[in-house]
Symmetry: C2
Subunit: 349 residues, 2 copies
Amino acid sequence: MPKDTPSPRKVTLADIAQGCDVSRATVSLVLRGSPLVNKVTRARVEAELKRQGYVYNRAAANLRRRTSSSIALVINDLGNPFFAEFAAGVDEALGAAGFVTLLGNTGESAERQQAVLTSLIEHGPAGIILSPAEGSDGDRVLSAVGLHTPLLVFNRELDDADGQPRWETLEMDNPTGARLATEHLIALGHRRIAFFGGHRDSSSCRQRRQGYAEAMQAAGLAVDPGWLIESAPTRLEAARQTGAMFNRDPAPTAAVCYNDAVALGLMLGLTSRGRRPGEDFAVTGFDDIAEASVSVPPLTTVAVDPRGRGRQAAGLILERIHRAEAKPERIIAPVQLVVRESSCPPSTH
Amino acid sequence: MPKDTPSPRKVTLADIAQGCDVSRATVSLVLRGSPLVNKVTRARVEAELKRQGYVYNRAAANLRRRTSSSIALVINDLGNPFFAEFAAGVDEALGAAGFVTLLGNTGESAERQQAVLTSLIEHGPAGIILSPAEGSDGDRVLSAVGLHTPLLVFNRELDDADGQPRWETLEMDNPTGARLATEHLIALGHRRIAFFGGHRDSSSCRQRRQGYAEAMQAAGLAVDPGWLIESAPTRLEAARQTGAMFNRDPAPTAAVCYNDAVALGLMLGLTSRGRRPGEDFAVTGFDDIAEASVSVPPLTTVAVDPRGRGRQAAGLILERIHRAEAKPERIIAPVQLVVRESSCPPSTH
DNA sequence: GATCCGCTTTGGATCGTTCTAAATACGTTA
DNA sequence: TAACGTATTTAGAACGATCCAAAGCGGATC
């Protein structure tokens, strides 16, 4: 229940119309740059608009026209630079198309996500871009969103069991990214390669592990189950788990990490155990966050261009709004391996 | 000009009213939980609401009531974790109060900021929170925002020369923060302390330098002008400028940095010059970004709690909306020194 | 003088809510 | 029986824009 106060009263079309002795309809035509109105009238009206400091009331227009000029953007963790960049990309592209972004941050809580969605939908956005919180349920989401508002799900899979896909999907090409990183390490001469970090039940982690496994298999390399190490996707947790890597003998000589945060944490953990990442242990990340290029050593990683993905997501939802009939697609965004210094050949001793 | 398409038609109050044979007014009362309606009627109406899958049209309600349930949030750089956290805090508090966040990212461009403000204001937000882009002009901002929408300016000063303050201000206590950091280094025994990073013309940098200067003076320590080193507030630039610190003889033994990014860059630069931050050179930062606690060595810094500041900003603007007559205040948020390992006593040799 | 034309302009209904003032129902009291 | 009070419901005019169909206005044509 928004507590709010009536404003002092704003200048409306009617005020302008009265002020220069034309009808509201004419003023409206001027505002929308219609070619119907006479030059002289237009000039008079425009002068009056400026004089009274008129500001357009888009809500009223939208009500009458039964349209909307906003898109809701629901993010699972705005504090995470990856999603913040994504949001910036979305807002940039939406702004350029004349839309405004309705923001909602869920902090990875599926409950809050429901609340946020119900609240946002009441503002009548033309579409919704959702980066789901962990543990989101497709049916619940849909019950809040309804069937009339186009929905684009970003980054995580949301169970969509029905025959008909009920929303559009934009995902990173996780398998390929992990495969590229793994192949790169193999090409450098590594044979014992671990997959480090991430939660087994997250869809992106599954997909990345799969790409890793494919590359290993294609090269005829065995994967020791002890080389699949889970950890929360944060630097701190990853640093803590570093030890788990060296429980087996022989230990791995390289690790493909779930993401950059984990990779940076692993490098920290290695350093504090007296190992030098990029010299006697190879590490790769995923995401290419800003820090990756300035860490010591600079991190080899898979770039996904979150800002570009944001722009893409905005483009997709706008397209869908214009052609509501088209059936939802599932889009996989390409990724790119960026080789830096953290991926070294296996040390010789 | 938003290109948009009429939607398939939504369920309205009238549909519900017709569906259970009461008037629109009654349904409206039910929706708003008025005690006037009879229990039995209420139940009937509620059943019908559910049956038809009604969703409230807040825009229409806002039009009629001449209210607004949104607040615009304009951010100079969403990609920066500090501002992303701030935004998350704002959204959290606004959401709790039943408001929705209209997001706009300006990417530090004053031009884009004007465009964003004019676009957002047309959606009739109840208030605006603005973290200004570099080089913003107070008068231009105000010409876009108008005088009827409460404005809260965050983090940077915006020239407000007039006698009457025309907007509310929320700033960090920069002078005190820098003073605390400097005093901490002095207490450890340092005598030659540099101020490293930031642009001289940014208001926050000026304020932090001032706090540093005060502390130095209070301790009777001279400041060599060569110890005031400018740099863009990024890690990379800071690393590049590291050399400038050792141009003078005797060189400083510690540095108060403009912010954490700069401090981390400086530590990088020190390391690559064979110096060990936290052992033979002391470093402090400002902001306490997530990384600060996990860097090597962990960074002594000044915590400003961006998420908390976001919540505070939301609270302030909401308060102002309710009491529009109150004259705008200028609020300085307290900061806190967090001592970690990067600040060591001066090395003995 | 009536008709038709293109060029402009306009009154009034409309979008989905809320608000006001008044209507309705029904028992009580005088 | 009329007047009254309480509890509940409602018709219809707003809010600020847009849309539609129609009208006004010369001037050209018949």
